[in-house]
């Protein structure tokens, strides 16, 4: 480190080139910090727990042709036939599923007549086997009892006042509605005029889509309403992970046998549904990785180019130093230290810039604040990059023979 003073005085004579390296490092550092942060944001999104036993679930969506006045009986027949299939552990019929194409949402109030709702939650409807089939984990209370269920046809009849009075909510929703309290037995208002009593709390149940934004992703509730296949039409089958393909194929055939006059809309494993849902995030993450690699390569090329130029320009100076007794190691370290100093200045400016870009992203894309941990990541990456890039030119500098000092050009 004794080398620093001559380095600084040399850099002072090469302000433009030094400033360009600093600027390039700063820009790269700022973009890379934010890109790594964005990648992590996507990865976390893709890693959100759904609450479902995803690796054991397959789903089939059917649609009838025209109005079907007999949908409830047909649905019961379907479920019975599907349950009887070999390899099927349980079957449920629900109005919606995570990562599938539609969502039902309702506002939730704690008081009867309320101006502003407490929150808005995804509304799952389903039969007796829904919790078991989805593999939801109850962390408090109980599942619904058979007498708590209401049929969709009764519930939705014009002018009907029949409604269920029990509800199961997610832990996130319980914490939002009743912070610090036990949710079991508490009341809330949503569908219909009368209150619901919370009978159970499940650990996780993700909303079907992004309705409500990232902070509300776990706000879901389950109402004990048996739906016919005409409402959302999501047959969910739980099976062994390695029998999924077989069960899926058999389920399609079984449903066709029960009533062939229906149109098959979707049939796939829950894992496939999830993968499709996050395809956009995955490709964005890869794109960001490509940008980071591109930036690193371009920055490295820039450092190599300018360092080579300096070495060439200072060949004579290096020769003189060598002739005066400087070792190869000292010459090598000279260029390495120079690069370290430039990279450090660039990184410091880059950090400030990274923070600025993050503020802009926060404003436009509802991103969180850049955690400080990303700053050292970017710094270390660029320090390493600088050292790797400068090594070639620096070695060439170290190879300059002392005899150069005696030559005229």
């Amino acid at each position: 480190m004794a080398d620093i003073r001559p380095i600084l005085s040399t850099l002072r004579r090469h302000k433009t080139a030094a400033a360009l390296i600093v600027l390039e490092v700063a820009l790269s550092c700022a973009i890379i910090c934010n890109a790594v942060f964005l990648i992590n944001d996507r990865l976390q999104r893709m890693d959100r727990p759904s609450g479902l036993a995803e690796s054991e679930i397959v789903r089939v969506q059917l649609a009838g042709i025209g109005r079907d006045d007999n949908a409830e009986a047909l649905s019961r027949e379907d479920v019975a036939a599907l349950s009887a299939m070999p390899g099927v552990k349980s079957v449920a019929l629900t109005n919606q599923l995570p990562f599938a194409n539609s969502s039902w949402n309702s506002s939730v109030n704690l008081a009867e007549e309320q101006q502003i709702p407490n929150l808005n939650a995804a509304t799952y409807l389903g039969d007796e086997l829904l919790l078991e089939t989805l593999g939801l984990r109850l962390v408090a209370g109980r599942d619904f009892t058979p007498d708590e269920y209401v049929d969709w046809s009764v519930f939705s009849e014009p002018g009907s006042t029949v409604q269920p009075h029990s509800i199961i909510i997610t832990r996130a929703m319980a914490e939002r509605l009743y912070p610090g309290e036990d949710a079991i037995g508490k009341q809330l208002y949503t569908w219909g005029e009368e209150p619901y009593r919370v009978v159970g709390v499940v650990e996780h149940l993700i909303r079907p889509n992004e309705n409500g934004g990232p902070s509300e992703v776990q706000l879901s509730m389950i109402l004990p309403i048996r739906v016919p296949f005409t409402i959302g039409s999501n047959y969910v089958l739980r099976t062994d992970p390695d029998r999924r393909e077989e069960v899926l194929k058999a389920a399609v055939a079984t449903l066709d046998k029960v009533n062939p006059n229906r149109i098959l809309m979707e049939h796939e494993t829950m894992q496939q549904t999830r993968a499709d849902y996050y395809a956009q995030d995955r490709s964005m993450a890869w794109l960001l990785i490509a940008v980071i690699v591109g930036l690193l390569v371009v920055t490295a090329l820039g450092i190599i180019g300018l360092a080579s130029f300096w070495v060439q320009q200072r060949t004579k100076q290096i020769g003189v130093r060598r002739a005066l007794g400087a070792t190869r190691g000292q010459i090598l370290r000279y260029f390495q230290t120079e690069n370290f100093l430039l990279a450090t200045v660039g990184i410091v400016i880059g950090m400030a810039l990274a923070y600025g870009i993050n503020l802009m992203l926060m404003e436009r894309y509802e991103l969180a604040r850049l955690p400080a941990i990303y700053l050292p990541v970017g710094a270390v990456a660029l320090w390493l990059l600088g050292q790797v890039a400068v090594f070639g030119p620096a070695r060439r500098a170290a190879a300059v023979p002392p005899a150069v000092a005696t030559r005229s050009v």
Partner: protein
């Protein structure tokens, strides 16, 4: 003539300099090409997605908004409801205060082909009213849209897309033939030509960049037959007694689920229509149907797209990223050009001593920079084509729209050359500051 020949000479000098320093030149070309490739890929996608879906007419077609919601959840200053109740949409349609107007909703119908071996399938449908076709200038291959008479009679008529016509009837003029939709017989009265407004502006609650629907039916018919809808529905009160058999879809249901468009040919008509919306809202408030303060909006097509933030956030983010990347590539090029020019200090010194002006040196350097930019542009174009191919492999609704057009092609070269000229400015200026004396002395 003189300028031209000097340009040619500088160009020749540039090529010689490239040959002398192949690696450095290749690095610069590559850096510019990467920057150009990335930014052109993202700009093309942005350009396609933010385009005018109704060119020549988008400033005369408007999406009106009024506020039918109840006081529950009212926040002063909030934008009015984005969709319409059936009651209000039908009332405005009857009043017909615009040059043209249409109400609409998305839906899906089961199609039963009368063809051996072709199973029934679901087709996306649009339930709308007569003016939809002339207002949005839909191109017809055969036949035409329906009129007010069919709307009021809930007629069983349908306009079908070119794709559905191909699938069901093998193409050709199918006007007069019948199709089975949701177990009802409809008569085909029109077959569309290719129509792909991007974004699909008229209903942003459904897929924004997907293809248009395959079947168009009168809205009145869709309600008479209770056909299934798709899109968003917002109900602010239990339907209860307001719902007759139609439930949420009935005329008096407190639910917004309909899109409404109006064509207004002159600014005076726009002003008059806005007053009409205010009057209508005031009347509804007086009648007790509306609770919130009167709040109306009247945005044209581009305004409506802008308000809805139609271009996906990811696409905008990608443009920023690519621009940042291009900036780094340019800074890199500035550095490399500087190194390149200053390395030739001796040569430049000699040229200056032999009488070349500073201007001449500056011009020579810029020609060299511009040539690098042009080469970078060509390579960058290749990378952009590769990038767009990559975008087309993505599972997004707009994937197949990611194509380079002539304008973007030209822009690629303009950006590449301008960017490299800008990048060449500083190094060229430094190079022309070289004093001949010092360089000659050190010889």
């Amino acid at each position: 003539m003189f300028r031209n020949s000097m340009f040619g000479y500088y160009f020749d000098l540039a090529l010689r300099s490239f040959r002398r320093n192949k690696v450095l030149t290749a690095l610069m070309v590559l850096a510019i090409a990467l920057g150009i490739g990335a930014s052109m890929t993202t700009l093309t996608v942005f350009h396609v997605l933010s385009g005018d879906p109704l060119p020549g007419k988008s400033h005369t077609v408007f999406y009106p908004q009024i506020e039918p919601r109840s006081m529950g959840g009212f926040v002063p200053g909030e934008e009015p409801s984005e969709q319409w109740t059936r009651f209000d949409a039908e009332a405005l349609l009857r009043d017909a205060k615009g040059d043209r107007q249409a109400m609409m909703s998305g839906g899906a119908v089961a199609v039963e082909p009368q063809i051996e071996g072709l199973a029934p399938f679901y087709a996306d449908a649009r339930y709308t009213s007569a003016d939809f076709f002339p207002m949005f200038e839909l191109p017809f291959a055969h036949g035409k849209g329906w009129g007010a008479a069919e709307d009021s009679a809930s007629a069983r008529v349908a306009v079908i897309s070119a794709a559905l016509n191909e699938k069901l009837f093998g193409g050709g003029d199918s006007v007069g033939r019948t199709i089975q939709l949701d177990q009802q017989t409809f008569q085909v009265i029109g077959v569309l030509d290719e129509w792909r407004p991007t974004p699909r502006f008229y209903d942003l609650t459904n897929t924004r960049y997907g293809e248009v629907e395959q079947v168009f039916l009168p809205f009145s018919t869709s309600r008479a037959l209770e056909l299934g809808t798709s899109g968003n529905m917002n109900c602010w009160e239990p339907v209860g007694d307001a719902g007759d058999d139609g439930g949420n879809y009935s005329i008096n249901a407190p639910c917004a689920w309909i899109q409404y468009w109006v064509e207004l040919d002159s600014p005076e008509k726009v002003d008059a229509y806005e007053r009409y919306l205010v009057n209508y809202s005031d009347q509804q408030r007086a009648a007790g149907r509306f609770e919130r303060p009167t709040n109306v909006r009247l945005r044209d097509v581009m305004g409506w797209l802008d308000y809805n933030g139609a271009v996906p956030g990811d696409v905008r983010l990608q443009v920023w990223l690519a621009m940042g990347f291009l900036l780094v590539c340019l800074v890199n090029t500035v550095g490399l050009l500087l190194a390149k020019f200053l390395r030739r200090s001796t040569e430049i010194g000699v040229r200056r001593a032999l009488g070349a002006s500073r201007r001449a040196i500056f011009a020579q350097c810029l020609v060299e920079a511009g040539t690098i930019g042009l080469a970078g542009g060509v390579l960058g174009l290749g990378l952009a084509l590769l990038g767009l191919w990559g975008v087309r492999q993505q599972p997004t609704g707009y994937a197949e729209l990611a194509q380079l057009d002539a304008g973007m092609l030209l822009l690629t070269f303009v950006i590449a050359v301008v960017a490299s000229l800008l990048a060449g400015m500083l190094p060229a200026w430094r190079a022309c500051q070289i004093t001949p004396a010092i360089q000659l002395k050190s010889q």
